[in-house]
């Protein structure tokens, strides 16, 4: 092992940790199978961990050109990677559960409150009217009401 080699596993591991985190929100969240439990991202983090372990081995090797600097850099980059992982796990498994109790939400068997709101084109839509308006000549069997967080 030469002493001047660039510690590529360390930086690759760090980069992979970043990708493992950001790819959930930008890509994997679009598919229910990888969204509901982020196994794809956890796998990427495993890959990052393997690279980081290799990087730590190199960074702390005795034949580094600048051993002290290598150890400091290696420690900081590894620590950042662990923080990225911890933040990801926290965001998905902890923050995702920070929800209000909603004990007053309509239960099965209850009638839902009527309302009238504007649709995306500014047209007024009323729940009762929607239930009363025939679709292709037949009365509607019901409606699925989807409340969502918003587009962000």
């Amino acid at each position: 092992m030469t002493a001047r080699r660039f510690n590529w596993p360390l930086w690759a591991g760090f980069l992979l940790a970043l990708i493992a985190s950001f790819s959930y929100f930008s890509f994997f969240v679009r598919f229910p199978i990888t969204r509901d439990f982020p196994w794809a991202n956890l796998l990427l983090f495993v890959g990052a961990a393997i690279l980081l372990v290799m990087g730590i081995g190199r960074g702390f090797a005795r034949d580094r050109a600048h051993p002290t600097r290598s150890r400091i850099t290696t420690s900081i980059v590894s620590l950042f990677s662990v923080v990225i992982f911890a933040l990801f796990v926290f965001t998905i498994f902890v923050v995702g559960r920070w929800l209000p109790p909603s004990t007053g939400a309509p239960h099965v068997g209850q009638k839902v409150p009527e309302f009238t709101l504007n649709d995306a084109n500014g047209k007024q839509v009323s729940l009762n009217e929607l239930l009363a308006t025939p679709i292709e000549g037949k009365p509607p069997k019901g409606v699925l009401l989807i409340f969502y967080r918003g587009y962000w």
């Binding site: 929800l99 839902v112 309302f115 409340f147």
Partner: protein
């Protein structure tokens, strides 16, 4: 139909990008969201009150037949599950 605390303009962007054909309603002041007790206070990107995710299957008389209130907002009902539940309305 879908309801959120987004304005009609914000919703139009979403509809255009995703190609939805069903009604999307705007409840920016979160009043209807509040009536359904689904308010997630200040959880919006700009600090606005938004809705926690929920699906209600309502029959022709306006009665709730099925409700899905997730414990983790990253986990949502899948379309196949909802279509199965919709058979309750036959």
């Amino acid at each position: 139909m879908a309801i959120s605390a987004d304005t009609p303009e914000e919703t139009r962007n979403l509809i255009q990008q995703a190609g939805y054909t069903f009604p999307f309603l705007s409840d920016r002041p979160a009043e209807v969201i509040r009536r359904y007790d689904l308010v997630h206070a200040h959880a919006g990107a700009d600090g606005r009150d938004i809705s926690r995710p929920a699906e209600f299957l309502i029959d022709a008389s306006g009665t709730v037949r099925w409700i899905n209130l997730t414990e983790n907002y990253w986990i949502r009902a899948r379309p196949g599950d909802i279509l199965d539940k919709a058979k309750l309305l036959q």
